[in-house]
Each structure stands twice: as C-alpha cells, then as structure tokens.
C-alpha cells in the first residue's frame, strides 16, 4: 500500500506541475490575444447579440463599461438592491441596450 501511494502521489505531483504550466501559458496567450490592437478593434458584441443572449422580452439590459480596477459594491437584499460603482482611472459608461 505504501509503495502504491508513493507512486500515485508522484503521478499527481507530475500532473499538477503540468497543469500549472498549462495555466500560466493560457493566461499569457489570453493576455496577448486581448491586448493585440487588431483584436481590440474586433472584440465587440452588437446590441442584437445582447438581446439574443438575454432573450426574454420583459428584460432590461444595462451595459456597464468601466476602466480597470473599478470597484463594484453590491449590498445585501435586506438593505435594498443597491449597486455602487467607483472608478479610479477614468469615467464609467453606462447605457441601456435599446429594444429592436
């Protein structure tokens, strides 16, 4: 049992190191992807995409575009449905997705 456990822990150690390597590579690839100027320009959704994604007609969809590190604070329902946004690096844009 001891020998079995030893080799299993060894295999799991290998697997975990392989995962760590893949995760860091993936994070790097994603950052390069989203920072590429061409991809930045083409990285958008259209209003109809939003409407299709939240398809029920009685839903209102509000879009919030904020600078990095903007703090969003949501209060407990018993205190009322409050959402506060606080930016340190620029104005926040909020708009409603228009109906058809």
């Amino acid at each position: 049992r001891h020998k079995e456990l030893q080799s299993e822990v060894y295999d799991l150690t290998e697997a975990e190191e392989q995962l760590d390597d893949l995760i860091s590579k993936c994070n790097l690839q994603l950052r390069l992807l989203t920072e590429d100027p061409q991809n930045k320009k083409l990285g958008y959704v259209r209003c109809q995409d939003l409407r299709k994604s939240f398809d029920s007609p009685d839903q209102l969809v509000m879009v919030i575009r904020a600078p990095p590190e903007t703090q969003m604070q949501v209060s407990e329902p018993s205190e009322g449905y409050k959402v506060s946004l606080k930016s340190m690096h620029g104005p926040i844009d909020v708009f409603l997705c228009p109906d058809d």
Binding site: E69, M72, V74, E76, P77
Partner: protein, 48 residues
C-alpha cells in the same frame, strides 16, 4: 457581511465572482420581506 465587492473593468476575470452576487441578490429573504410589506400597505408607485 452585508455587501460584496468585486473589481470590474478587465476582461475574462473569474466568471464565478458574479454567481455569488446573483445568488445573494436573488436570495429569498428580501423578496419574502417585500411580499410581507406589499401584503400590508400597498406602496405608492414612485414617480419616474
């Protein structure tokens, strides 16, 4: 803990951060309280 704080403004964060917030907001307590309130005195509609 009466509120939750998240950082927004970056793409592709951890999607699960909003799952917890949505669970908290949609927890039954407040809506239960609201039905109680609604049951007693009908709230005057707020003027836009």
């Amino acid at each position: 803990r009466s509120r939750m704080l998240v950082s927004i403004g970056e793409s592709f964060g951890h999607s699960s951060r909003f799952q917890k917030i949505n669970q908290m907001v949609n927890s039954s307590e407040r809506s239960f309280k609201r039905t109680l309130d609604m049951g007693s005195i009908p709230k005057p509609l707020k003027r836009l």
